[in-house]
């Protein structure tokens, strides 16, 4: 069976500096896949390449069997690709409600707006209390919920979450991850990008470890949890020199 998303031999970067070299990953239908790695490993660049914000220098991106390398970012939303970006990137001067409506801007999502809104507000009851508040004035955790909710509003087949736990209090991380797990149960494929290995591996089916712009390791969540390589990728210590 062809995977929902596959990246093969992607090279990408900014200006003259290469960030990703020879990156290949896959996400299957209904799968929760996490992409782990230290700061600067290329995780965010990967999500931007998939969302169409960064154009790869070479390599193949396929989504639902079609090559999408030439499809501009704004059209990929209609294909079913959604990204809750690093740093949340909510529209600060707009209300929570307006942010969510923008999530369903694409025509296919607009038709299903009312139902999607109900689902998102059920997933994050806190957003319902804040509907009329300007997004820029909310706490980091609430903005994170809004960014995820906004992405879900677009009725995605693949939901990418870039560092959803970054800078959040442990309690809020639990809330956010409970929502991620529930979204996964609804059948949406998830690509979860995290530095918070514990939280990510708890919900993921499988994962990749990204180091220096390429895949250093991959395996099931259970395998990665016990892997020395994962620890070394994060702590910067060589697996061999560990006691």
């Amino acid at each position: 069976m062809t995977p929902l998303l596959s990246l093969s031999n992607i090279r990408a970067g900014y200006g003259a500096s290469l960030v990703l070299h020879d990156l290949s990953i896959e996400v299957g239908e209904g799968e929760v896949v996490c992409l782990l790695g230290a700061n600067g490993a290329g995780k965010t660049t990967t999500t931007c390449v998939i969302a169409g914000l960064v154009r790869p220098w070479s390599g193949e991106i396929r989504f639902a069997g079609e090559s999408i390398a030439e499809v501009p970012g704004h059209r990929r939303v209609s294909l079913g690709i959604a990204l809750s970006p690093e740093g949340r990137q909510v529209f600060p001067e707009m209300t929570v409600h307006e942010n969510l409506l923008l999530g369903s801007y694409a025509p296919h999502a607009r038709r299903d707006r009312t139902r999607a809104m109900d689902q998102v507000l059920a997933l994050f009851p806190r957003l319902e209390e804040r509907l009329r508040q300007k997004a820029g004035l909310m706490s980091g955790g609430e903005q994170q919920m809004l960014a995820i909710g906004r992405a879900i509003m677009s009725r995605p087949r693949l939901l990418m979450l870039d560092e959803p736990s970054l800078g959040l209090a442990p309690r809020i991380v639990m809330d956010v991850y409970a929502a991620v797990a529930e979204t996964a149960r609804a059948g949406i494929s998830i690509l979860l990008v995290e530095q918070n290995t514990e939280a990510a591996l708890a919900v993921a089916d499988r994962g990749y470890v990204l180091a220096n712009g390429t895949i250093a390791a991959s395996g099931s969540a259970a395998e990665l949890r016990g892997s020395a390589l994962v620890r070394s990728a994060f702590l910067g210590i060589q697996a061999e020199s560990a006691p």
Partner: protein, 291 residues
């Protein structure tokens, strides 16, 4: 006391027109992030449009207004797609030079079409007045104010409540996040620039009620509009409207209370703007299309 009331009414009516002249510039800057130095020339072309409507077609400028707005929109759209879109990622200096160049070209097209002679497109009723109590209201000014108010209200309502208006604000606030919503920023840029042009043309058509028309009228209008937009906080529609009224009040007061004040209006108005910016460097409302 009566004098003060008269002055405030005059300032209010003038402020509406200033707001309309500047709001287009503010929209263009807020979304496309280019200060359009040709905006004054759009106003000038709108004024000549009204002049042609009145003299060639014998159509009232107010009736010609919707038609001029549509023409302005189409012209702005073509100008954006054909020329301005190419410098979006260029350094700011290149963008300024480009729009300045467009301004010069438009000025000289106007000289060719209408010569440098001073023209007027004032319909009869624009010069008549109504006296309410002790206050004189010149009809031309009142109409200009009402048209400006209607257009600005329509613009803000559209920005706030329509699907596309929301997309325009999204692009202004966060370009990349807007793409993630499925919004095509290139299309929104063209749309915002075209609307900005249409608003410039519209304010020109009603300026023709109040002042004479020359091919070179655009520059002083641009200067005022830029000052108003900066004072209001770059890209904020609400800030632009507020600062348009501040400028109108300052000008009117100086013209009346300062001896030989009429000649000083612009200088003192700009002093007020500099003064406010010293206290609030980001303008009255310093945020992207907060509306």
């Amino acid at each position: 006391m009566t004098n003060l009331l008269q002055l405030l009414i005059d300032a209010l009516l003038m402020g509406g027109l200033y707001a309309l002249m500047s709001v287009g510039l503010s929209l263009g800057f807020g979304v496309v992030r280019i200060i359009n130095f040709a905006h004054g020339e759009f106003v000038m072309l709108g004024a000549y449009g009204a002049y042609w409507a009145l003299t060639l077609l014998h159509v009232d400028p107010l009736l010609a207004l919707p038609f001029l707005i549509v023409l302005g929109y189409l012209g702005g759209w073509l100008l954006f797609r054909g020329v301005v879109a190419w410098v979006l990622k260029a350094p700011a200096l290149n963008q300024i030079l480009l729009t300045f160049g467009i301004a010069l070209v438009l000025q000289h097209i106007a000289v060719v079409l209408w010569t440098g002679d001073v023209r007027s497109a004032m319909p009869e009723y624009a010069l008549s007045t109504t006296i309410i109590g002790d206050v004189f209201v010149v009809h031309g000014r009142l109409i200009a104010f009402l048209v400006a108010g209607t257009l600005i209200a329509a613009l803000t309502t559209w920005l706030r409540y329509s699907e596309t208006g929301r997309a325009v604000r999204a692009v202004a606030q966060n370009h990349d996040a807007a793409i993630l919503m499925g919004i095509n920023p290139g299309r929104i840029y063209a749309l915002a620039f075209a609307m900005s042009t249409a608003l410039g043309i519209a304010s020109g058509a009603i300026v023709s009620f109040l002042i004479n028309i020359t091919p070179f009228m655009g520059f002083s209008i641009l200067l005022k509009a830029v000052a108003i937009v900066i004072l209001g906080g770059l890209g904020s529609i609400a800030g632009t409207v507020i600062s348009a009224f501040i400028l109108a009040i300052a000008e009117t007061m100086v013209a009346y209370y300062v001896p030989e004040g009429a000649g000083w209006t612009e200088g003192v108005a700009f002093a007020v703007i500099v003064g406010i910016l010293l206290v609030r460097p980001r303008g009255i409302i310093g945020s992207a299309l907060a509306t």
